[in-house]
Amino acid sequence: MMESVYTVLSILLPFEWMDHVFMKNAFLAVLLVTPLFGLLSTMVVSNRMAFFSDSLGHGAFTGIAIGVLLGSVSPLLSLVIFSVLFSLVITYIKSKSSASTDTIIGVFSSTAIAVGLMIMSYGGGFNKFAAYMIGDLLSITPEDIIALCGVFIGVLVLWAVIFNRLLVLSINASFARSRGIPVLWIESCFAAALAVIVAVSIQWVGLLIINSLLVLPAAAARNITNDVKHYHLASVCTAMFSGFIGLILSYYFNMAAGATIVVLSAVIFFMTLLVKSYCVR
């Protein structure tokens, strides 16, 4: 099946960078993942969850370490499971505790990264994990692409189902509750979706910058839009545009793809900042 997809890609995009299989995989990954980053980032920014999504990257770090430690299960699976659990625990404790959200996320985030480092550095074998820090395009396998297809459909369906309630929640939690919205449920679904998308992309985007992809597209889109539809459109376009251009640039200049994508998003953000006063009513 992957073979036929590769052939179609070669016909549609007859460029030099498309000749390599790893670039085809990377292209497909970008095609599937960047729209999701664009969609989810809208509510990450609106719900002021930038710190939370940052901690998910740290949680994924421990997930990788545990996956390696267990050895038997596929690393991606253990990563996804751990990240989802991690995000759900934070969301739950955040809702039950009276301590400030910052503090709780800070505690979990630093614990996760410390545990991850402890396990990874055990026996002095840390170097083989360094790739997770900056991400590695070559690490995308055809199996990953198939998993990404599943994630893509799953997140789109979830987004169609929970978005309205999430939007109300982003305005005010008490107000959302008064309209019968199950706040904890909605928050948990959103957190789990974020965890999944971070987990499946962290290997090629890199731990250090994955959070930028969940913040920058929407941050840029907010500067130039006034309603939800345009907000989504601009956010998804920003994410996909920087994704593709970043991928191609990183190929020709031999740079880390994740970092290039993030820098491009940042450039778009600063450009939108300049035109903000013309666009926002």
């Binding site: 969609l39 107000f175 008064s178 907010r222 309603d227 009513r281």
Partner: protein, 264 residues
Amino acid sequence: MFKKILHHRAASAEDCAGLCCTKIEDFSVKIGRTDIFSHVNLHIHCGQLTAIIGPNGAGKSTLLRAILGEVSHTGTLHYVDAKGKHTGHPILGYVPQYLRFDVSSPTSVMDIFMACLSTRPVWLCSSKNMRSRVLKNLTRVKSEHLIDRRLGALSGGELQRVLLALALDPIPDLLLLDEPVSGVDQNGLELFYEIVADLRAKEDMAIILISHDLNLVARHADKVVLLNKKVIVSGTPQEVFSDERTREIFGMLAGVSTESGVKA
């Protein structure tokens, strides 16, 4: 517009003979080891505006949040509608205190209405029917011109009117107003209360209002409840404002309000 309201009045007058009521029985809320309030009993009739007054920290907002089911509480809430059926939980409308939210959020008034009223995802679908329904809702609070404005670009008074319009669809059995116009200018404040007074009369709705503005309470409320960890006094504005215990809690302020209360 006027026709519509008159029509509505006819319909609701038929449904509700003024017999519907909400009974709050023995509500207590404890957070940690602190009693926020205890043994609160309230009886709220439709078409009545019940004002809850009390000093800061008296548990007023918590009481509303307990009614909303947002904080866990002991005690029960009974609702009986005009025909004596539909007992259970009333439909609640809630207008929160002046909302603090990110003013840069690209969400229009239309978006937030659609998010509240429809299951179709706002980012994907749009609907003409929905737009006319939202316009109708906004007309009720004299804000139809705001439909395409960004939430963050609304003034305090405009935002509270939009939130009121949201709380009114579906028409609630019990409308909860938590200091809805603190920090809103005089014009906005008067317009807001004008609309609320209208609603009480026309929709035969039970309203609970928390307010620190005792003059306003004296002017608009049918019943006043002084809350301070428990119900201290309740009754008509005159009764409550002339009560010794009210004077004790509010000091000189109560003296001023009694006068206007008697006048009203």
